[in-house]
């Protein structure tokens, strides 16, 4: 049953995203940026999915520390990993957006930089998990890192914003005024689809984490013989 729901959710997300590509392609080019502006239809949903995943990781990390239930740790690692994947999507699409508009692949604007710092932080989280063998210690330490990483988000964002406003910096949404209604509808669908996709991947990753634990216990059993 659960498998079927996941399967349906994944297919639905895929269909929505694929359909929206054609809808988006038919939209008239945006006034100042042309078609490149439409990258936002993947960029923003990926970002939303990434931050939802990272937020879920924070909540489950806290829950793990409170309850010591390994199920929460599994959700935390699954959603962090998916969060990193979607952050990567956000970074790559952001970079491809910057190239035609500003003529540069990368700009140190507050959103991109905060995302990059977050990406590095959660990469550290995943590397830390690989470096620790003992399950309880791994889960506990990872949860602490996750909490530490997340409390840095607002302070990161605002400080990078203040840092760069002292220099002339290109600004996103300089033409927000021209965001028409039907665009917002498609954007809404894309965000929904991306979140569904993220949920499906997290669920699959969660099952893998359970298999991993099964594998670990089998290994211990094999050692005991």
């Amino acid at each position: 049953m659960r498998e079927k729901i996941l399967y349906l959710l994944g297919v639905a997300a895929f269909v929505i995203l694929a359909r929206d590509i054609f809808v988006i392609a038919r939209f008239p080019p945006e006034a100042s940026q042309g078609n490149a502006f439409k990258i936002i239809f993947f960029h923003l949903p990926a970002w939303a999915a990434a931050f939802t995943a990272v937020g879920a990781s924070l909540v489950t990390s806290i829950l793990f520390l409170v309850t010591k239930n390994f199920q929460y740790d599994a959700i935390a690692v699954a959603s962090t990993e998916v969060g990193v994947a979607f952050l990567t999507v956000g970074l790559v699409t952001g970079s491809l957006w910057a190239r035609p508009i500003w003529g540069i692949w990368w700009t140190w604007d507050e959103r991109l930089t905060t995302t990059l710092v977050l990406w590095l932080l959660y990469l550290g989280y995943l590397m830390l998990r690989r470096a620790i063998e003992e399950p309880t210690q791994r889960a506990t330490f990872a949860a602490v890192v996750s909490i530490f990483a997340f409390i840095g988000v607002p302070i990161d964002y605002f400080s990078i914003r203040w840092w760069r406003t002292q220099h002339p910096a290109p600004v996103f949404f300089s033409s927000t005024g021209s965001f028409p209604h039907d665009w917002s509808v498609v954007m809404g669908w894309n965000i929904l689809a991306m979140l569904m996709l993220a949920t499906v991947i997290v669920a699959v990753r969660l099952e893998q984490e359970q298999s991993q634990r099964e594998l670990d216990s089998l290994r211990r059993l094999a050692h005991a013989f």
Binding site: G124, L128, A131, I151, S159, I160, W162, W163
Partner: protein, 246 residues
């Protein structure tokens, strides 16, 4: 290099972290123990100092130290050096306790994790500060920077920035002490975490070496630095028990 055991702690008559005075004494005992251990060998401080000066020399090849623009990013350069050198000291903070299972003894000692953490952090703070106070004049000489114009403001920035490095570094030092790749994991985790604090310190230091006061339009960075310190000190004190005891 023999590491001293911790008789002061285990033999301490204080049995629990009850009143404020006894908690303070516990912190002091840990600080004194760590400083004494470090002063006997001086291995972390010497390494950090040599490392800091070496980076300062290497940076001089990356750009012209005599150029006027150098003053613009002098603050950034200085704090990169401090962050690198600080990590060397912090790496030793808990690793020093590994031989002879001193860490287990410390955790088993009748002292709360938060106090142990505070003691460790303060000891590292003193050591990192010492390294920085030696590196700062060297930096001034090498890069023709007048850092002493607003001496006490400079010290304030140094004190706050170093506390940010120390508090985050000590938590992750405790966290990475037992794992593989400790030397790699510590900077991997601390540097991204320190981004706002380092940015604030860099900005304020750049202002000071350019003759500006920190109370001007850039006072917002002082606020960033102070709130970073408060936020991460609180989070560390809340979570360090879990890290140490598990």
């Amino acid at each position: 290099m023999a590491t001293i055991a911790t008789p002061e702690v285990t033999a301490s008559p204080v049995r629990h972290a009850g009143s404020g005075a006894s908690a303070l004494r516990q912190v002091f005992v840990i600080v004194a123990k760590d400083l004494r251990a470090e002063l006997r060998t001086k291995e972390a401080v010497n390494a950090a100092l040599a490392f800091a000066i070496m980076i300062l020399v290497l940076f001089s090849f990356a750009f012209d130290p005599a150029a006027d623009e150098t003053k613009m990013f002098a603050g950034g350069l200085l704090w990169i050096v401090f962050a690198f050198a600080g990590t060397l000291v912090l790496n030793r903070s808990f690793a020093r306790e590994l031989p002879n299972d001193c860490l287990d003894a410390l955790i088993a000692a009748p002292i709360s994790g938060a106090m142990l953490f505070l003691g460790k952090a303060l000891a590292s703070y003193v050591l990192v500060m010492a390294v920085e106070l030696v590196a700062l004049p060297v930096f001034g000489i090498f890069y023709y920077v007048r850092w002493y114009d607003h001496f006490w403001q400079m010290m304030l920035v140094l004190a706050l920035g170093t506390w940010a490095i120390t508090v985050v570094g000590t938590v992750f030092s405790a966290l990475t002490v037992n794992i593989r790749l400790r030397e790699v994991m510590l900077p991997m985790l601390t540097y991204p975490m320190l981004v706002p604090a380092l940015m604030a310190s860099m900005q304020l230091t750049a202002d000071l070496v350019n003759g500006k006061q920190i109370w001007g339009p850039d006072f917002i960075w002082m606020k960033v630095l102070i709130s970073f310190d408060i936020l991460y000190t609180a989070a560390s004190l809340a979570l360090v028990e879990i890290v140490l005891v598990g």
